[in-house]
């Protein structure tokens, strides 16, 4: 509990701190592992202090955007859960991979075979999925059975030009009962099986952060990303010329990084 309380203090402090960072006009917040830990009966628990931190950022006049790689539910369902947990958050404040993937699929006339969580399927309702010519993979959790992965593999290996679109490249995340394998692990599995390279939609893809910046109407040097993932959050934001903070909640493990302070500021 000590770590959580400390984290809560840290998140509260961030709201103040971000205001003081010269030239910062917009804040991007990761959700899982930063605002709450997912899993368990209610779908997750807020990290102490984070509900207040969101309120303070909003009250401070800073622009705020929630940037998540969450693909276990539609944005609507995900936001409703966060609202129930007490967060001041709206659907149109959230940037997430599935809607971005849908835009790409439509633009390129792609018909996806989906390997995603059941609750994400409605995001793809408007798309033709017959006779698929690509595979879209998300954080499917228990849907990552041998049978389902094999099915996706057979679709890919049967295509003359195999296209694999992955909603993120995360290794793992933290739920209330421990670490869980994320979509990136299964992306790597299919990449190896079919000798292809996936196209990643979501963090740390540059296009994902650029969309979020455009939605906030701020320049990269005016924005700061706050997350618990050194690659997806910190690395992705830096690549776009943004500043980034890593919090020590969520999946943070002391062996992952060295030489970082309690909060790491970079960029």
């Amino acid at each position: 509990m000590h770590q959580l309380q400390a984290a809560g203090r840290a998140v509260r402090a961030m709201a103040e701190w971000a205001k003081q960072l010269a030239g910062i006009k917009g804040v991007m917040l990761d959700i899982s592992g930063v605002l709450y830990d997912s899993g368990g009966e209610g779908g997750g628990v807020p990290i102490p202090g984070s509900i207040e931190a969101v309120e303070k950022i909003k009250a401070s006049g800073l622009k705020l955007r929630f940037c998540t790689n969450e693909t276990q539910a539609t944005r609507g369902k995900f936001v409703a859960k966060l609202q129930r947990l007490g967060f001041n958050i709206l659907v149109n404040e959230v940037t997430a991979p599935a809607p971005a993937a849908c835009r790409i699929l439509k633009e390129r006339n792609l018909r996806p075979h989906l390997l995603v969580h059941d609750d994400l399927v409605p995001e793809f309702d408007q798309l033709d999925k017959a006779n698929p010519n690509c595979v879209v993979i998300g954080d499917a959790a228990d849907n990552f059975s041998y049978k389902n992965l094999n099915e996706a593999f057979r679709v890919l290996i049967g295509l003359e030009n195999p296209i694999l679109i992955s909603l993120g490249r995360g290794r793992y995340y933290k739920e209330t009962d421990g670490l869980k394998l994320d979509v990136g692990v299964y992306m790597k599995a299919l990449e190896y099986a079919c000798d292809v390279q996936a196209e990643v939609v979501g963090k740390p893809a540059k296009m994902f952060f650029q969309s979020a910046l455009a939605e906030m109407e701020v320049e990269p040097q005016q924005a700061i990303m706050i997350g618990d993932d050194i690659v997806n959050d910190v690395g992705g934001a830096q690549q776009c010329g943004m500043r980034a903070l890593q919090v020590r909640t969520g999946k943070y493990r002391s062996t992952c990084v060295s030489g970082l302070g309690y909060l790491s500021l970079s960029g």
Copy 2:
């Protein structure tokens, strides 16, 4: 059926051909995809001509060793199945990854967490598996559930020095009802999740071919490997200074290789 008949002729021709190859004293035969296609009710079907090819090689006076990455059953159970299908094969003629892995585990005092097919578990009966300090992964097929892969991941990520031992690095193999993902795909998944490199036991590991050569008591330049996998069979054998033949049965796909004849001879 045309392809199978042609393959049968090819396998029969090989027995004659191998005898004519100057200096060849020993033949290593892959099993799945070369002698039979696995899967279906009886556990598989012989590839036409392959039963006779084994007889002919044995009658020719050439030494013969069956070299398989099969890890869906103990050697005893696997050989019994092949005997039922009509093959002249004995347990002590087979080189397979699981017994090799057991030797390594004992030598290094490793206690494995097993992610393998149920039918392979008895191979590890003699080993201490309490409080595991490594993970051993085999072709677990339907046992590759999200839950089981996550469990193996948690064991690995919790170790100060994570050791992952993989019984092969194959991408996929062919069963009677189509292509199936092999152990290498899940090895890659765990490698990425934990940022480790697996130690591969089985083909194409040099040590695996060296054991088989020692068991046959022939020198590398006196031996030829016959298989359907360009990496595991052909590449692995060549690395040891052996010659190798690729047959066009099993997982062979025309897009995998180019410029090879009906049988490819290399080394």
